[in-house]
Amino acid sequence: MSVAASDAELARDALAGSEAAYRELVTRYATPAVNFIFRFVRDRALAEDLAQEGFLRVYQRLNTFDPSRRFSSWFFQVLRNITIDYLRVNRLPTSSLDELAEEGNQGAAVDRESASPEQIAGQRELAAAMSAALARIRPEYREVVVLRYQEGLTQPEIAEILGLPSGTVKTYLHRARKELAGILAEQGWGPATETLSSEVP
C-alpha cells in the first residue's frame, strides 16, 4: 500500500479486507474526528467514544461510499449524524464560562520554543477565550466554523455535509465570525480596548 494513497483508495482497500488500509484511514482522521465532536460535546472522553463509534459506523457502511465524492465529506456527515443522535438523547450539563475556558486550555498548542512565558500565557488565554466564545455561538454556526476553519473544508463540501445551499453556508460563516468577534470584544479582546489601554500613560 502506497503512503500517498488517496482516501478513496484506502476506503476501497479497507472494504476489500485490508486492515492496513483501514488503519491508515483511522490514523488520518482520528484527530479531526475527535476535535469535531469535542466542539459539540465538550468532553474529551465522550468525544473519543463517539469518534470510535463513528469509525465503526464508517467501516460498516464503507460499501455505500461513493468514490466520486470526497471521503472527508462523507466521513464528517457520518460523524455529524452520530453527534446529533447523541445530543438528541442526552442533555449536556450547562457549563460555566470558566469551565469552557478551562476546556480551551486542554492541550494548548503554543510555540514554546520561540515564545516567552508571558507570550505562552497570552496565547493560552486567547485560545481559551476563543474556545469559550465558540461554545457560545449558535450550534449551526459552530458547525460551519469547525468544518471550515478547523478541518479546512471548502464551502461546497460543507454545504454537501450539512445539506444546505452553498450561499447559506457562506452566510452562516459570516454571521458566526461576527458573533465571535462580538463575544471576544465583550470580553475585552477587541482592538478598541487595546488602543485605550495603550493610550493610558
Partner: protein, 166 residues
C-alpha cells in the same frame, strides 16, 4: 495564535472586508489548540471494526450453512415422502382451488360493483358541492398546512443541536 492575528482579523471584520476577514480568521483558527486522541485510539478503532467484520462473516457463513442444511433436508424429506404424500396433496389442492377460485371471482365482482356504486354517489355529491370559491378555499387550506409543516420542520431542524448550547 497571538494577539496580532486576532487584531488583524477583528480589524478586517470591522472594515467589512469579508474575504480578508475570512483569511485572517482562518489563520487565527488554525493556531487553535487541537486535542490529540489517546495513543490506543487507532488500535481500538481498528480492533472494533475487525471484530465486527469477523462476527459478520461468521453470521453470513452460519446463514449459508443453515440455508444449505434446510434445502438438503427439505429435498430429502420430499424424496422420501413423495410416494405416500403426493396423491393426497394433489387431491387437496384440486379440491381447494376448485372451490376457492369461483368464490373469489364472484366476491370480487360484487365488491367491484359496490365500489363503482360508491364512486358514482361520490361523484354526484361532489358535483353538487364543488364551486370555484370552495375549491380555492380548500387549496388555500392545504397550502397553509404545507407551509406550517415546512416551518415546523425548519424549527425542529434549528433545534437539533439545542443541547449543545451553553
Amino acid at each position: 495564535m497571538d494577539r496580532k492575528q486576532l487584531e488583524r482579523w477583528l480589524a478586517e471584520e470591522e472594515g467589512g472586508h469579508d474575504d480578508a476577514a475570512d483569511a485572517a480568521f482562518a489563520q487565527l483558527f488554525t493556531a487553535m489548540p487541537r486535542l490529540e486522541p489517546r495513543p490506543a485510539f487507532v488500535e481500538q478503532a481498528v480492533a472494533a471494526a475487525w471484530q465486527w467484520r469477523a462476527r459478520r462473516r461468521r453470521l453470513v457463513a452460519f446463514g449459508w450453512a443453515a440455508a444449505a442444511v434446510l434445502v438438503a433436508a427439505g429435498a430429502l424429506a420430499a424424496y422420501l415422502a413423495s410416494p405416500t404424500l403426493a396423491p393426497p396433496f394433489i387431491k387437496v389442492l384440486a379440491f381447494v382451488s376448485g372451490r376457492a377460485v369461483p368464490w373469489f371471482v364472484s366476491y370480487a365482482t360484487v365488491a367491484m360493483s359496490s365500489w363503482l356504486t360508491l364512486v358514482h354517489v361520490g361523484g354526484v355529491i361532489a358535483s353538487a358541492l364543488v364551486t370555484p370559491a370552495r375549491v380555492a378555499a380548500l387549496v388555500g387550506v392545504e397550502l397553509f398546512g404545507l407551509l406550517a409543516f415546512f416551518a415546523l420542520q425548519r424549527i425542529a431542524g434549528a433545534g437539533r443541536f439545542g443541547d449543545a448550547q451553553v
